[in-house]
Symmetry: C2
Subunit: 351 residues, 2 copies
Amino acid sequence: MTQYLSKKAQSITPYVAGEQPGGKNNIKLNTNENPFPPSPKVIRAAKAAINAELRKYPDAGGGSFRKAAAEYVGVSEENIFCGNGSDEVLGFAFQAFFDPGKPVSTPDISYSFYPVWAALYDIPLKKIPLDENFALNPKDYTKSKGGVIIANPNAPTGVAITKAEVEIIVAGNKGKVVIIDEAYVEFGAESAVDLIKTYDNLLVVRTLSKSQSLAGMRAGFAVGSEALIDGMNRIKDSFNSYPVDRLTEATAAAALHDRAYYEKANGQVMETREWTTQALIRIGVTVLPSKANFIFARPNKLPAKTVFERLREKNIYVRWFNKPRIDAYLRISIGTKAEMRALVDAIDAMN
Amino acid sequence: MTQYLSKKAQSITPYVAGEQPGGKNNIKLNTNENPFPPSPKVIRAAKAAINAELRKYPDAGGGSFRKAAAEYVGVSEENIFCGNGSDEVLGFAFQAFFDPGKPVSTPDISYSFYPVWAALYDIPLKKIPLDENFALNPKDYTKSKGGVIIANPNAPTGVAITKAEVEIIVAGNKGKVVIIDEAYVEFGAESAVDLIKTYDNLLVVRTLSKSQSLAGMRAGFAVGSEALIDGMNRIKDSFNSYPVDRLTEATAAAALHDRAYYEKANGQVMETREWTTQALIRIGVTVLPSKANFIFARPNKLPAKTVFERLREKNIYVRWFNKPRIDAYLRISIGTKAEMRALVDAIDAMN
């Protein structure tokens, strides 16, 4: 029954997200969701936005969400593009800035959606190997043929680079667009957003799914020069002029206004991450240094796949990638302290 | 500053939506929004869905929205694809079923987003002229090279074809996908949804923006054979795995469950449409027979552009397309009876 599919639809290999198990007693540490609920101010703002105005189209540019994002990162509204999750924002960016035939530089191990967008838009990737500690050398990414895309902190490793290292890459790619995907940056890494004032070829992409506890609302944004934001809008207006609905706009704006609530919540996530890291190391698990709301951990006594499966039997869900170089690791989202204690105990009991 | 844009981003001409004027005293008849608010049950369902669960990703397939859509049109969930507005659904469908090099048949006058998606995905269009009354001959669309896309009722004319006419087109395109865009079907036209049980090459696309008063929530869906829905999912999962957020899911499901409320509201829209049509004809305006929530009207005493501009001066917004064959017409959304009376009076005063 593939007779009806376009050549493109037949040829692509779609992204596979972490499973969403049903049932109530699961410990779900497989999709990097925040264990804390959205801010009470977000809940109030969402309720206030539910009214007869829903009959009308939303603001095509994100309205109050765009304004709040600009204030949040300290730029003008003209430097902000809002979308239906950072996945949509990144998809648009691939179309807006990368060309077939010009290889885009990216680490060999990174967010597994990048190769999917590349295939969807016929953009070749130049996969540059990270070193044996999954660290990135910025000089490997200068003078790219078609641009650069990097996650910072990286996924699924959690390893971050500094703003100075990002600057080496951006400055070393005159005339090419460098995309820094900062999905996890608010869990302790250094943002490169400031650099957009100096470099018009830098696009920084953020999401509210993780650090603002809003995965259920699908809100993300890009920060860049007016030229880059114009490119994003050209693609949006050729695909779906209104990607951000009225309630997403209201919840996203309220979340970005309540910095204090999320700094506290994310502070606790980071504290729990450090506790989990130490506890796992004590029972013989290797853990990479993470600046994200997950850790990348190598169980040394049993294969990662076995640990993944045995945890699953106990309704503890983590992520295991059946891929070269990383199949000895598990990606474990940071949940509540109680959830992480249950995880550590479950792994300890296998030894 | 186009140096950073991909060849694609430089070459496309984006869609231009109707303007969204600020201010409170406007009569806004330019984007085909429903004059009635969403059902009270929708408001309640939305409020109930605002809770701590927003921290978690939504169901990737639309969850309760998908289930409600299946019940609403009388098919299985496997025959439904949910998206972020019917624009996104249509964009995915272009990618999933149409190929570069194979012309897709479509009327010369139709939804002006079709040529934009065609350009975005390098799909050639075979534009088939409607007759002098903007009527479509189904036989013109059989044996297409690359598939068919038709809006029924058509936009911006409001003219509809019957289910039997749709069947001629679908039966006459074995092995090619026929997309029927039923954005406005619930204002009096005949849906072709039933035909998906007989023809696996038919995709029917619907939106909740107009007939469910939910333009602000961005909810649309497609109905088709499992093979076609699989194609849609392949594209979605290569672009943005979670296009429908939790509150869109909740509001869309509640809207589709409250059939009685919307039948009454849309009945009033149709009644107002007939009143407006007769009132305009009485003052010398030609009005096409419409099965949509807008009318396509030709002022005979002044040029359409002049009427458009003078209405605008009075804060009455309608749509005028500066395009061959239709530049003598105005597309006028059906608002409340009071709004339509103000419109008719304003045009009458110009004569």
